[in-house]
Symmetry: C2
Subunit: 342 residues, 2 copies
DNA sequence: TTGAATCAAGAATACGTATTCCTGAATATT
DNA sequence: AATATTCAGGAATACGTATTCTTGATTCAA
């Protein structure tokens, strides 16, 4: 049977209120009584009921993670693992727990919204969003619900967001290839409607333009196979690019495979730079140069902000954090390794 | 402000109890009144408070996922993504949500146990466990708490478990290599104390013995780099193996890289079979042969069982499910592709 | 037509906790 | 010594819902 404060109170000959005070560590309770209560609690293995506590305090100590992504797509996606494990890592030092929900469709988006928030299951939300048209953020704002958007807030102003500087990331990757002596720098992007694609393409375009080069852009679906076939196509074109910036590591693996099939040596005949700097980068011989988005930092900032606005009932003024990215140079872009390492 | 059943009741000129009945879909409420209440609910955007409901019903509709694993290790681990996304997929058709906790140390193990269960944060638990010495299962049993163990229950008897047949998996992988004509079949295992290592090694040993071959076993830590260096070592030994069974896909990638460095052609000079059949298998040229553990099925059985025992307050007699595995043949083990494909 | 039976819906209660309010005693202040 | 102040801890209440108990009305059987 479940042991409650009522039981402890009876056994320690005090009132339930006193037990509650002991649990809360209230200073205004006599040492002798505190000891007695603690003793009974310990010997009866008492633990407070988080459900009652949630109701009473209007706080569940749960935060939600919502991503709009097909469950299928998650399987090969290191981003998801990294994101979740970083969140868990952060929360492990707090009284909060994580409730994960993946919304794959518009319908389930709404469901998630209703289920998690309006029913008050979670105290706050981390919303990973890549489509600006999405109206979830707007709804959350309207309800004055504590949440942090991970991604580009676009026009939306009065909300908390944490984002990578994807424009800069695109620029850095491109600039690096140019500095390595590549002149026909192409870009293999993901679905064109995604902000992440747009932003990185923008950084890429700015940079090639500044260098007096011509932009060459291909759009691909996510995933190894899709990127591989787009890569084959791009590299088979006359006037083929001598280097490619690829939207993520996983897609880059596909491009590497395409290059292998076409017998294009990496990095001599084809330089490759991608994004995310996941473990995948170590799987190709020589390594894959990748722009680290510093997910750990993104998560830490997002969680920090979220917990703060949860605690203060969303009083903190909206903040917009941009986490810098850093190029992690490996073999796939080092045309002149000896020079570069010198 | 938060709108409650009390508010709805007032506005619809009924009692709060009636509102509750309407919410519950109780048939014994007059149509006219029901309509009126529903109307007010809709126009005021009412949603039940899951916290109050949890307290009243003694049920949170949350299930927990607990894995004992270092948060760091998760990053490159497709298993985690697959597992979580399959659970989410399953739960999306139920009223349950998922609370994820990763316990990295013995301390946090206890914390998780206390935090999630004894505080009644979750209704039930999926426990992914690979170390038999672990006493969490025992404690859960003692508390009569609904949980399903994913992994080998070992001696533990009266508990629900879902497991792969890892002994069989080890045997299948080994048998396949032998059938392909390999004779010096080695095994690169993970940490020797893990059940998953032990079981697969056992299947491996049985099979090589039956074939009159000598077992060659190396133990490695998890991860690409560790497996890579153990692979180098194994393949550098005099009388080196002509094929290797590797504990998981990720480690197998490391072994592939080791083979590449030693200029051993796969599959001609070195056959490789691994486990899990993740997306990584498609990243090596020709593909990586892998034993699919059918995680989807494991998860579905585990979730199904868990939800049943949660619903019936753990009355169902303990079940032990063993999910069969299946070999997914790809290039890394096909010494004779034409024959095999014929 | 009367008593029993059915039933819709309100009143009351419980879930377990945190907290406000209150009381009586002890200490401080003059 | 008398009044003011502090304070430990008990009593009562609220959080929002589900459910049992109760009641008044209606239906049914005789």
């Amino acid at each position: 049977m479940r042991v409650t404060q009522q039981d402890i109170a009876r056994l320690a000959s005090v009132s339930q209120a006193t037990v509650s005070r002991v649990v809360a560590g209230d200073a205004r309770v006599e040492d002798e009584i505190r000891e007695r209560v603690l003793g009974v609690m310990k010997s009866h293995n008492y633990r407070p009921d988080v459900r009652a506590r949630s109701l009473r305090q209007q706080r569940t100590h749960l935060v939600g993670l919502v991503m709009k992504r097909d469950a299928r797509d998650l399987q090969g996606d290191p981003f998801f693992s990294m994101f979740v494990s970083e969140i868990l890592d952060y929360l492990s030092n707090t009284p909060y727990h994580l409730c994960v929900d993946i919304a794959s469709s518009a319908v389930s988006q709404t469901n998630v919204y209703d289920e998690l928030l309006r029913t008050r299951r979670v105290d706050g939300l981390i919303l990973v969003e890549s489509e600006p048209r999405d109206n979830r953020a707007t709804r959350l704002q309207a309800d004055h619900f504590p949440f942090v958007l991970v991604g580009n807030p676009g026009e939306a102003k009065h909300l908390h967001s944490v984002d990578n500087d994807n424009v800069l990331a695109g620029a850095i990757a491109t600039q690096h290839l140019i500095e390595q002596g590549y002149r026909k720098v192409g870009f293999i992007a993901g679905p064109s409607e995604l902000t992440v694609s747009k932003d990185r393409v923008e950084g890429y375009c700015q940079t090639v333009s500044s260098a007096g080069l011509r932009p060459r852009i291909w759009y691909s679906d996510f995933g190894f196979d899709a990127a591989r076939s787009v890569g084959l196509q791009a590299l088979s074109s006359e006037d083929r690019p001598d280097s490619l910036v690829v939207l993520d590591d996983f897609m880059a693996m596909g491009v590497v495979d395409a290059a292998r099939e076409l017998r294009l040596a990496v990095p001599q005949s084809l330089g490759i730079v991608s994004f995310n700097d996941t473990h995948l980068c170590n799987l190709v011989p020589g390594g894959l140069t990748s722009v680290s988005l510093n997910i750990r930092e993104v998560v830490r900032r997002a969680c920090g902000t979220l917990l703060r606005i949860v605690e203060d009932r969303n009083e903190e003024p909206p903040s917009r954090v941009v986490v810098p990215c850093a190029l992690k140079v490996r073999g796939s872009s080092l045309r002149t390794p000896e020079v570069a390492l010198a």
